[in-house]
């Protein structure tokens, strides 16, 4: 009888130990998730503050493209000043043009739209400019690249 009691107790003990293990695991997992979330939240908060304007700036870029395109035809002094002012505002927000013309094609910051026969992998024309916002690429430059066509 006593033995049987002991067996039941032992069994109960093992069960409980197993349960503790499961619960500890779950708890640790939840805690880990939470701590990760907290860390990421802090990081994202900083990033958000830094790049919150990114989406708006990105939208404005196509307007800037158009204006520059218009200017390339009209060559109007007033419009030139207006574009300059517009660019000033954007650069105050941390916008920087990616310099690509004449460089070696680099897909990290450029997208090839067209290729022609010529020197190997050289950007020979910028179709639309690429931009960085505070060092983060927000739009790759669209470029025409010369390649050696065999």
């Amino acid at each position: 009888m006593k033995n049987q009691d002991k067996v039941t107790k032992d069994k109960e003990n093992t069960e409980l130990k197993k349960q503790i293990e499961v619960l500890t695991n779950d708890w640790k997992r939840a805690l880990a998730d939470y701590q990760n979330l907290q860390r990421r939240y802090e990081k994202e908060k900083i990033e958000f503050a830094q790049y919150a304007n990114g989406i708006l700036v990105l939208k404005l870029l196509s307007t800037l493209d158009y204006l520059e395109k218009v200017q390339s035809y009209l060559k109007d002094d007033g419009l030139g000043l207006a574009i300059k002012e517009f660019k000033n505002v954007l650069s105050e927000e941390g916008l920087k043009e990616v310099e690509v013309l004449g460089k070696k094609f680099n897909p990290e910051e450029m997208e090839a739209i067209e290729k022609i026969d010529g020197e190997e992998d050289k950007v020979i024309e910028v179709i639309s400019k690429g931009y960085r916002l505070k060092d983060k690429l927000i739009r790759p430059a669209k470029v025409k690249v010369s390649v050696i066509i065999i």
Binding site: V22, N25, D26, K28, R29, A30, A32, D33, Y34, N36, L37, R39, R40, Y66, K69, V70, S72, Y73, F105, P107, E108, M110, E111, A112, I113, E114, K115, D121, I127, P140, K142, K144, V145, V147
Partner: protein, 636 residues
């Protein structure tokens, strides 16, 4: 403990998700996007968006659509068809398998896919801040054993232990939790970037069985874009005699514009396509593209494409030996299902609303992550946290229910707030714990009440009584009230504060909605009354404190106004009480101003000489929560 990631390794795009805190979360790429283009330059080891940007320059070394070759023999009919249009070189490798050749080196489709998986793994590791070694990867339901094996190998090459390969439609169904919804027969409609798949699944004993699949391996969003592009180009050509498709730069701008318009038309009825200076006319003058595209026109243009999906659906149903009416649930997958016309077409065909609440680009990865969670024991054993189904609060001055813990708050949780007394020399407060959404105490359910006594006599609003609510994981609510001055406290424990039956919760929530406006009025009346009573109290106190500093005629006026407010309070007319209160307040301000003027010369202002406004009492003790305390005075 490493996380198991879920990967949707797609033909056009791939996506990755992971279980976090018991729910799936999509991991964004280093480039900040929710999907990664399945494009690889195997020689320079460039993957995703970056690789996609160089396709034009390196068409023969930039590999896309590799999934089409996974686990296939070179001589397979489908491979032979794909060779015709894929720009890179496809060869016959070991055992007759299809391989790609780049710069004289051969790569198996497994190796190419592994590079995509490596990029996914790296992005996931940077997101999770730890090593990732295990994954669940999805494949189309029609993948045979060799294709599945190849996918698994790709994972292994990338350093991932592939715990399971699951079918894409199964993953989508998991993402919608259909396994728990008693849906027996499910149709998954997947219209992605380059392929269309339809599957019919049957769920039994927790296992999904794919009954039949069908589809079109070359039908997807890209075709839709192409149709729009052709329409724009042809219209432009008709008007200006110039084919924009012949000018690569104009074509690129047109392509971007067509895709943008297509996306815009999923949410608006009309899109304007504006591309100034798109090209030059024959006379050298610049030409602009300025067109409007309506949703109706777009739908007309792509109607053939959408209709093309219906035939495979019919065949799939026939193969599964099912009829439309046998389908319990329909799941929409793939970016193209965002198009209202696609959704409508599917809905009309089945005569049932398809599921589309999960982002269609992410749904497969989400399902894979859930499967990963199940395998890792995270989903099954996850502590299903309860939420409080109804708002919990206490009764405050004027029988108002003041909420402390709003409904749908995840438990365990706790919240405390400081309240004060409603009358001078009040030595006890009664805390009435309420549950429900109605603004008036009487309309909510009282869960229990208790009295905290022994509060030292003080003017109203001075004592600080902290009331705290705490719900533990078992749903037991502990409410305590503590007098901050004496430290005396009293508490009550209420079991089953979350354990209402579903019907009860529904009934109470519905009642709150039905009575919302009349309740609001009742509450407003109480607030007006409270304000009025408060002002009467302040007025009398001011007169008493000021003594003979107040001119007798002023004093008389204030007293008259006070009794007018008192009279009005006997009625239940909010407007009248409000009017009289306003009059009293005006007079009181006038008197107060006069007092200050007279005292400014003699510097008689003292600490207890309070300005005659209605809210000053609480300012002294808790400037920030001033109004809160006022509102929350505990009813005697």
């Amino acid at each position: 403990m490493g996380k198991i990631i879920g990967i949707d390794l797609g033909t056009t795009n791939s996506c990755v998700a992971v279980m976090e805190g018991g729910s799936p979360k999509v991991i964004y790429s280093a480039e900040g996007r929710n999907v990664i283009p399945s494009v690889v330059d195997p020689v320079s080891h460039i993957v995703g968006d970056v690789a996609k940007r160089q396709v034009v320059v390196k068409p023969r070394s930039t590999i896309f659509s590799i999934k089409r070759l996974m686990g296939r023999k070179y001589k397979d009919e489908s491979v032979q068809r794909d060779i015709k249009w894929l720009p890179y070189s496809i060869k016959e490798g070991r055992d007759g398998m299809a391989v790609v050749e780049v710069d004289g080196r051969t790569f198996t489709p497994q190796e190419i896919s592994a590079m995509i998986l490596q990029k996914i793994k790296a992005d996931a590791e940077s997101y999770l801040g730890g090593k990732v070694t295990q994954a669940v990867i999805t494949v189309p339901a029609y993948f045979d054993d060799s294709q599945r094996q190849a996918t698994k190998q790709a994972g292994e090459i990338a350093g991932l232990e592939v715990l399971r390969i699951i079918n894409e439609p199964t993953a989508s169904s998991l993402a919608y939790g259909l396994d728990k919804k008693n849906a027996h027969t499910i149709a998954v409609y997947d219209l992605g970037g380059g392929t269309f798949d339809i599957s019919v699944l049957e769920l039994g004993e927790g296992v999904y069985e794919v009954k039949a699949t069908n589809g079109d391996t070359h039908l997807g969003g890209d075709d839709f874009d192409q149709v729009v592009l052709s329409y724009l180009a042809e219209t432009f050509q008709k008007e200006n005699g110039i084919d924009l498709r012949k000018d690569p730069q104009a074509l690129q701008r047109l392509r971007d514009a067509a895709e943008k318009a297509k996306i815009e038309l999923s949410s608006s009825k009309e899109a304007e396509i504006n591309q100034p200076f798109i090209t030059q006319g024959k006379d050298g003058n610049p030409l602009h593209l300025n067109m409007k595209l309506s949703r109706a026109k777009l739908e007309e243009l792509v109607d053939d494409l959408i209709q093309k999906t219906i035939e495979p659906v019919k065949k799939c149903l026939a193969d599964a030996k099912k009829e439309k009416k046998d389908i319990d649930e329909i799941v929409m997958v793939g970016g193209m299902t965002r198009m209202p016309k696609v959704y409508e077409t599917v809905k009309n065909f089945f005569g049932k609303e398809p599921n589309r609440s999960v982002n269609p680009d992410e749904v497969v990865a989400v399902g894979a992550a859930i499967q990963g969670g199940v395998l890792g024991g995270e989903v099954k054993d996850v502590l299903l946290l309860d939420v409080t189904p109804l708002t919990l609060g206490i009764e405050t001055l004027g029988s108002v229910a003041t909420p402390l813990i709003p409904r749908n708050t995840t438990v365990p949780t706790s919240k405390s707030q400081v309240f004060s007394t409603a009358a001078d020399n009040q030595t006890q407060v009664e805390v009435n714990v309420l549950q429900g959404e109605r603004p008036m105490a009487a309309d909510n359910k009282s869960l229990g009440r208790f009295v905290l006594d022994g509060i030292p006599p003080a003017p109203r609003g001075i004592p600080q009584i902290e009331v705290s609510f705490d719900i533990d994981a078992n749903g037991i609510l502990n409410v305590a009230a503590k007098d901050k001055a004496t430290g005396r406290s009293q508490s009550v424990s209420i079991k089953g504060s979350t354990g209402l039956s579903k019907d009860e919760v529904e009934k109470m929530t519905k009642e709150a909605e039905v009575h919302a406006s009349e309740d609001e009025e009742k509450k407003k009346l109480v607030e007006i009354r409270n304000l009025a009573e408060n002002l009467v109290y302040t007025s009398e106190k001011t007169l008493k404190d000021a003594g003979d500093k107040v001119k007798p005629e002023d004093k008389k006026e204030v007293e008259e106004k006070v009794s007018a407010v008192r009279e009005a309070l006997k009625s239940e007319k909010a407007a009248e009480i409000e009017d009289k209160t306003k009059e009293l307040s005006d007079v009181l301000q006038k008197v107060g101003a006069a007092m200050y003027q007279s005292s400014s010369t003699g510097q008689q202002t003292t600490a207890d000489n309070q300005p005659p406004t209605g809210e000053q009492e609480t300012k002294a003790e808790e400037p920030k929560a001033g109004e809160k305390v006022e509102e929350g005075e505990v009813v005697k």
